[in-house]
Symmetry: C2
Subunit: 311 residues, 2 copies
């Protein structure tokens, strides 16, 4: 998105600070995006002393002159983890997402910044944690005035979340993306996963297999290697099948989430396309949602609550 | 094993040349081990031109003087793979393991060497391959005059094999060891897998979970990380649990192999101990076998067949 309106000073800055990426948006009070920027300065590359400098460098032209009121900056994601900018704690599910009493203010040296970090979510039975995705889920709940439903946010660590009476009832993390990378990059399969066009057929077969026979997943993986040694398969087939197997295994692990109603699929392409295919194979209903829009809605709700709180 | 009797010239040399390790044994005609040696010169570190030199360096003192009859060297394992010393082909299951018509002779520059490489096994339905383990299985069949049974050879790539009427009916590879290494070394779990003593309790719980709920494997993995973030668990617990989950998943994938009778567990400690625990959790019967002894029995049968063939 170009900085088409960057001459106008934003009312606040939205930040999604993940493990591998920093994304910022210059926002108006009513939720219009004036500019969007990103960098590779993810949490995994920074120490806590680096955050203020990295953020200021990315948004300096949006900041007020030294004597003006400080710019509200609302941050979700791994910046709030232990070892991030400042540890922002967790809300414990079941819970709602609207409170602002448990936000973390970050003291800054630069007087032009007023930074707030959102807490993550934690779950004690079936131990699990989430940092960042809860903000898109909050956006989904508020934007669609959702009372009940299920959200799926696929990725490195896919998050599945059950919404009940407008709050979070439970969630589950499935390491699909990270397992794919570890298997494709650090096992013998790397020798058989030639680059090539995505094969929808191989992906669908993999999903079906992973879903119907999750008990044989760790055996099916070596089959991809053997198949390559014993017969020629086209470029992209094995890698598409591996991706399908792991997404199928994810759907198998989360069947209780999607079996009984439509899933809100919160993702961007090309991941959204893949999961849409997988849901089709599984016979699961789904509704595609715009992940960025929902994250901004979630951060915007916090911005407005902070304004009211200050008033 | 010390070279206690290395003054005596062996009748033949047994070689198990794997991906990461080379093992050789100086043998008498009747199967006594005179000396055992190994090196890290596995197939993954060598090009085909290196093999003769590496082998000769390791066994030079066993070789006859230049004018004597050449020393028979019988080799199983990845040295026979494409990209190994010389491609030794595959037998296609179902098959027996006793033929010597399909062995591969390797021409050597050194006239003191007479090298033979055994073929691997391949399976066309449920594509799979094996190189090296089939020789221990042949040893098991011949040493115990086995007609029917199941062998489990755990490891980086665990092999499960169904023996029927003294031959190989089918087999399955499960990437348990390699998945463990990829997950423990190349995902976020690496931050939560502290070193520590093996926890038998955590391992058993993991096996049970992997076996009873294989459909949630890829979701349970992140639980190990979350559990570490949310509460203190002792050193070694998460790593033992991960190991248990993956061995449990292996047992889930191979249930048809072990559900109906005793499994011949062909392994060395500490892996044999772990699998023995896992079989206990699963309620599977098993018989511990000496992996090295069976490999030497399998190689010895080929040595004797070659002798007869030459006579």
């Amino acid at each position: 998105m170009p900085d088409q309106d960057s001459k106008r000073r934003p009312d606040w800055i939205a930040v999604d600070w993940g493990t591998s990426r920093l994304r910022v948006w210059a926002m108006t009070a009513n939720g219009t995006v004036l500019a969007a920027r990103q960098s590779e300065d993810g949490m995994s590359t920074l120490s806590s002393a680096d955050y203020e400098r990295v953020l200021t460098a990315l948004v300096s032209d949006f900041l007020p002159v030294a004597e003006g009121a400080p710019m509200p900056v609302v941050v979700c994601g791994m910046a709030g983890a232990r070892g991030g900018w400042r540890e922002a704690g967790y809300r414990t599910v079941p819970c709602t997402l609207g409170d602002v009493g448990d936000l973390t203010r970050v003291p800054c040296r630069d007087p032009r910044l007023s930074v707030t970090i959102l807490p993550g979510l934690r779950q004690k039975d079936a131990p699990d944690v989430m940092r960042g995705e809860e903000t898109a889920i909050a956006g989904l709940i508020s934007a669609e005035n959702l009372r009940d439903g299920v959200a799926c946010l696929p990725g490195t660590h896919s998050k599945w979340c059950r919404i009940d009476r407008g709050g979070i009832a439970e969630f589950t993390t499935v390491m699909t993306g990270e397992l794919f990378a570890a298997i494709a990059g650090h096992t013998i399969l790397r020798l058989s996963l030639s680059e090539g066009a995505f094969s929808e057929t191989a992906f669908r077969e993999g999903v079906d297999e992973g879903l119907q026979h999750p008990e044989t997943l760790t055996a099916r993986l070596f089959g991809l290697r053997a198949n390559d040694l014993l017969s020629w398969v086209g470029p992209g087939v094995a890698v598409s099948r591996l991706s399908g197997l792991l997404v199928g295994a994810e759907l198998s692990a989360t069947r209780s989430y999607w079996a009984d109603g439509a899933v809100h699929l919160v993702a961007s392409d090309p991941l959204a396309e893949k999961y849409a295919l997988a849901f089709e194979v599984a016979g699961a209903e789904f509704i595609r949602e715009n992940a960025e829009k929902l994250t901004l809605a979630g951060l915007g709700a916090v911005y407005r609550a902070l304004l009211e709180d200050a008033a």
